[in-house]
């Protein structure tokens, strides 16, 4: 892994410059993503505290609601409660829009509850007990809280997903991309130096050959002159 290099790169000066630019970009991207990850985790923890209390609230109110419902069932009978429940009018109306946390769209519920009086619920009072009203009220509250809880939980799930994605990117950059680019730069650099040395040696050799030739020519000329 340590010696892995990018493939398909020619050891030229152009490529070296381009790679150095890429490395700079990767490092910058890495630090940005790291910041994003940290910010997301902070956000995640903030909401985590909320979800705990929201869940326990929901559990508490539901327990009360179930108890009230059971009491109502005892007083009125199972069937009567069911029958009455059927005639209750729909009261919940939710508008789900979205909100942005660090680029992650999370739900924002706008719940409309018609604040209802006993009469608005839509069942008759003749054959229902007061306990049923209590149960209905508790369940209305519970629904409200459950929707809030759902919003928070969904937010957590979405944030978690985004954190995982960001983490993967950070790690990929840190442990794969940046070392790879660095290694490639090193390899190209060495290759260029090697080429330079080769060139140097070649020049020297040419020069010495030239000098030799010149010396020979000189010697010949000198010999000719001596003959003459």
């Amino acid at each position: 892994m340590a010696e892995e290099v990018l493939e398909g790169i020619n050891p030229t000066r152009m490529e070296l410059l381009a790679l150095k630019k890429r490395e700079k970009l990767a490092v910058k991207g890495h630090s940005l993503l790291k910041e994003k990850r940290d910010a997301l985790i902070k956000e995640f923890f903030d909401i985590l505290n909320k979800v705990k209390s929201a869940r326990s609230d929901v559990e508490k109110i539901l327990k009360e609601a179930y108890e009230a419902l059971t009491l109502a069932q005892i007083q009125m009978g199972d069937l009567a409660v069911k029958k009455t429940a059927l005639s209750v009018k729909e009261s919940v109306d939710v508008d789900v829009t979205s909100r942005n946390i660090m680029g992650v769209p999370v739900p924002l519920c706008d719940t409309h509850f018609d604040s209802r009086t006993l009469v608005d619920r839509g069942y008759g009072f003749g054959d229902t007990s007061a306990q049923l009203d209590v149960a209905a009220k508790k369940f209305e509250e519970a629904v409200k809280m459950i929707i809030e809880l759902g919003e928070i939980e969904k937010t957590i799930y979405l944030l978690a997903e985004e954190i995982e994605k960001t983490k993967r990117r950070v790690n990929a950059l840190e442990h794969v991309m940046i070392p790879k680019i660095g290694n490639t730069i090193k390899v190209i650099d060495m290759r260029l130096q090697e080429m330079e040395r080769e060139n140097f040696v070649r020049l020297k050799m040419i020069r010495s050959t030239l000098e030799e030739n010149e010396a020979k020519a000189e010697a010949k000329r000198a010999a000719k002159e001596a003959q003459a």
């Binding site: 985790i41 995640f44 985590l48 979800v51 869940r55 929901v58 559990e59 539901l62 327990k63 609601a65 179930y66 419902l69 059971t70 069932q73 409660v81 069911k82 009455t84 429940a85 059927l86 209750v88 009018k89 729909e90 009261s91 919940v92 109306d93 939710v94 508008d95 789900v96 979205s98 769209p105 999370v106 739900p107 519920c109 509850f113 209802r116 619920r121 049923l132 149960a135 209905a136 508790k138 369940f139 209305e140 509250e141 519970a142 629904v143 459950i146 929707i147 809880l149 759902g150 919003e151 939980e153 969904k154 957590i156 799930y157 979405l158 978690a160 997903e161 954190i163 995982e164």
Partner: protein
Amino acid sequence: MSSVAVIGDLDTITGFKLGGVSTGYVVNTEDEAKEALDELLESEVSIIIITQKVADEIREYINKTMGSEIVPMIIEIPDKDGESESDNDQMRALIKRVIGVDIK
């Protein structure tokens, strides 16, 4: 504009009907639960309240259908017999996966 629906046992549905949520599916088997969920996912319902017992039975199915979209929200609630520990575990597993340490 969207609405809320409940999947669960008879008493839960009755209770939520009293509370003003009129869309309720009484389910007893796994297949019924899946069917109800499918139907709700196709309709415009954005908040699905489901009891933990039912949710546990179709856990994989829920995870598969729950994408990264905002809606629908699937919320698990305890039923009449109180809560099972599973939801806590889900949250805990999620946290562990994300943060890397076990908290709580």
